[in-house]
């Protein structure tokens, strides 16, 4: 076992990292949860949602694309950062259409769970009410564009894990949207239900058909504990793993 060479603090807690780890990965190991949306542990980070933004040595930095560095001073759980993150979540809610109460992902959705964790009530921004079509052309998968938060997880998974190019973005800024590489919709692509890309969507955009609502209320992923609890459970009570200094 090699000792972890990189030492730094997050909100005053000592954290150790190995070379090559990102800030978010080191914190995950240490049991410190940094809210995130586009980051997925199995995928190359892309840094495009900015939810994971922390203050690193006084400057704002997205934790998923910031390498852990010796001696850095990180702020994560502050009222200001929580506010910023909540604002991002709110903007994602109003940019799409998110009827959580009857959505298939409800209770299992990372966007919704972050809304709860960050204390979002009703969005304060105006709803944009996009009109995007639900693509149900694939026999096993639906693509409900109204729910897409443009996190790019599916694009990365398709390219790097599945060796396909099923998904991509088109347009820029507010007009940016997810696209598939076939005129006739998802059903004409190489996509298969067992692809990695079919399992990484944080919201109810990519949904496996026929599985909807199979998990009862109370037993869904975020029914019992808030998002991030699994990571926080890794934190050792006191002593070795990290404590406020």
């Amino acid at each position: 076992m090699t000792a972890k060479a990189i030492q730094f603090t997050v909100d005053g807690i000592a954290v150790a990292a190995t070379a090559g780890q990102s800030l978010i990965e080191a914190c995950d190991d240490a049991g410190i949860y940094i809210p995130r949306l586009c980051h997925h542990p199995d995928l190359t980070p892309s840094g495009n949602c900015r939810v994971c933004t922390c203050t690193v040595n006084g400057r704002q930095s997205a934790a998923c694309v910031t390498p852990a560095a010796h001696g850095m001073v990180v702020e994560n759980d502050t009222p200001r950062l929580t506010d910023d993150r909540r604002t991002i979540i709110e903007m994602l809610f109003v940019e799409g259409i998110h009827p959580c109460p009857y959505c298939v992902a409800s209770g299992d959705c990372e966007l919704q769970a972050l809304g709860y964790r960050l204390g979002m009530t009703a969005p304060t921004e105006a709803y944009l009410w996009p009109r995007r079509k639900l693509d149900a052309t694939h026999p096993d998968i639906t693509l409900d564009h109204d729910r897409c938060i443009l996190c790019s997880r599916c694009i990365r998974a398709s390219r790097m894990e599945d060796g396909k190019t099923v998904f991509g973005f088109e347009g820029r800024g507010i007009a940016m949207r997810l696209n598939v590489d076939a005129q006739g919709g998802l059903g004409e692509t190489q996509m298969a239900a067992i692809d990695k890309a079919a399992s990484v969507c944080p919201v109810a955009c990519i949904v496996i058909k026929r599985d909807s609502y199979r998990v009862p209320n109370g037993e869904r992923r975020f029914d019992k504990a808030p998002i991030g609890s699994d990571i926080e459970a890794r934190r050792r009570p006191s002593g070795s793993g990290g404590h406020r200094s």
Binding site: Y102, K133, A136, T142, S212, R214, N217, G218
Partner: protein
């Protein structure tokens, strides 16, 4: 309003709720030249957006989405859509566990909804008097005057809600149905908790019925005639025409008790029923095809559920049914206030069915979902607390809904409610004044049907009213507000 305006020289009395929200009702009473009541209508703003809104959504989402349609009976919509989507999923028979879980949820829903109507909305009128002051003619007034009755109401309702929560994860907007089955069975813990209370619930339902009967016996004339008229009835019935609220065939009877149709499957409803849209109302007016537009109307709900069945397969409810049917001297019971009595019979039946189910091991089975070959269309009927509820969907090859048609219970009772209000207006309107008494009686008549206004979220109990009296030229003679 075209029909009314066309009636030249007629005078109009409008009873109109203040509320601007969806789910307001309005009563218009039309007078003839002689100043007598000619006709009355109860207008409902029905929420029609759903049928369009659901288009393009995946069929398996519908049972959950459709609950948002109605703030009062979301569970009935959930189960009815669930049954329709079984058909779409190519499933004709769900597993015993799935069937009984849904039944348990349904009977819990009807129990709690009927308790809500009877104890919270109707009992203040019945126990305190139609003309008791508005300030005390409510559940709080009932609790003060009859503390026991208030307690029964609260606990029966709560029990029904616990049944819903035990089967669907929460009291309102539960999730149980998936196409072809359910997503959970009943845990032993839930079962045992419900078993502990069900005996008491049945007993309280029985006491409430006795109390109601003493009201009826003290007011026999009123009970028989108030807002009443002979009518046809329609309801689901089960095997051997027994009372059946969850799944069965449609049966319709003439006012004299003879059969209009029976053994009609949900899928064939259009062979027997037709829906008409009238210009002055957003609501549809469904009627029985063979009887035509003018005579094809009928009543649904508890009175129809009790009238249309040949017997009830639970002992206490069956005894209560026989007792009730004696009012009809061998025929059907047409008393509009009989809706309340019938509602309590159904309530007792629900409690008895729940008890029976709680001792059925199938509820702990693990075989939850079956699959089949997809079909393009699904129709289902359920007896919701307020009566027959129908859902009809078409679905494309991708699984997206292409059309939806819902006939909700209150819509079925459209014509009957108009007639009841007309009857009350004829009996209680004198001259050109809208008295508080008239207002109260109109409200009592409508409440018997327990209409859910617009399938939104507002029960009639919360509905404020404005009464406006207009003369032949449309000028307002008097206005009366009822909070």
């Amino acid at each position: 309003m075209t029909e009314i305006q066309a009636s030249l020289g007629a005078r109009k009395i409008v009873i109109d709720p203040v509320t601007r929200v969806e789910g307001h009702g309005k009563v218009t009473i039309r007078l003839n030249e002689a100043g007598e009541v000619e006709q009355a209508r109860f207008h409902i703003v029905e929420f029609r957006g759903f049928e369009r809104f659901i288009q393009g959504r995946m069929f398996d989402e519908v049972p959950v989405i459709v609950q948002r349609l109605c703030g009062i009976c979301p569970v009935s919509h959930h189960l009815c859509a669930g049954k329709a989507m079984d058909v779409v999923a190519g499933v004709d028979q769900v597993t015993p566990t799935a069937d009984k879980m849904r039944r348990l949820m349904h009977y819990g829903q009807v129990l709690q909804s009927n308790a809500l109507n009877f104890f919270h909305l109707a009992s203040p009128d019945l126990l305190l008097g139609f003309d008791a002051p508005v300030a005390t003619r409510n559940i709080v007034g009932v609790i003060e005057a009859f503390p026991e009755v208030g307690k029964w109401g609260i606990f029966i309702r709560k029990f029904g809600q616990q049944v819903i929560a035990a089967t669907g994860g929460r009291r309102i907007h539960p999730r149980l149905c998936v196409p072809g089955g359910v997503n959970q069975n009943l845990t032993v813990d839930h079962r045992d908790a419900l078993r502990k209370d069900i005996g008491q619930i049945i007993a309280w339902c029985g006491l409430a019925l006795e109390l109601h009967k003493s009201f009826v016996h003290a007011h026999q004339e009123l009970h028989a005639t108030f807002a009443s008229f002979p009518s046809s009835y329609m309801s689901l019935v089960g095997a051997d025409k027994r009372m059946e609220l969850y799944d069965g065939t449609l049966r319709a009877l003439h006012a004299d008790g003879s059969t209009i149709f029976e053994d009609v499957k949900a899928a064939d409803y259009r062979d027997y029923m037709i829906e008409e849209v009238r210009s002055w109302s957003y609501m549809k007016f469904p009627h029985i095809r063979s009887l035509g537009r003018d005579n094809g109307w009928y009543r649904v709900g508890p009175l129809a559920q009790v009238n249309a069945c040949a017997f009830i397969d639970t002992p206490l409810a069956e005894a209560a049914r026989k007792d009730f049917m004696a009012l009809g001297h061998g025929g059907l019971v047409h008393a509009t206030l009989g809706y309340h009595w019938a509602r309590m019979i159904v309530m007792i039946h629900c409690a008895e069915v729940i008890e029976r189910l709680l001792y059925d091991d199938d509820l702990q089975g693990t075989d939850l979902v079956v699959t089949g070959k997809r079909r393009p269309e699904g129709v289902a009927v359920i007896e919701a607390p307020r009566g027959t509820l129908l859902h009809h969907y078409t679905v494309d090859d991708n699984g997206q809904v292409t059309s939806a048609n819902l006939i909700v219970s209150t819509t079925n009772n459209n014509e009957a409610m108009n007639r009841s209000v007309t009857k009350v207006a004829k009996d209680y309107l004198t001259g050109r004044e809208i008295t508080e008494g008239l207002l109260n009686h109109v409200e009592v008549a409508i409440r018997a049907y327990d209409p859910c206004l617009s399938c939104a979220t507002h029960a009639l109990g919360d509905m404020p009213l404005i009464v406006t009296l207009e003369d032949a030229d449309g000028a307002i003679v008097a206005t009366r507000v009822k909070e």
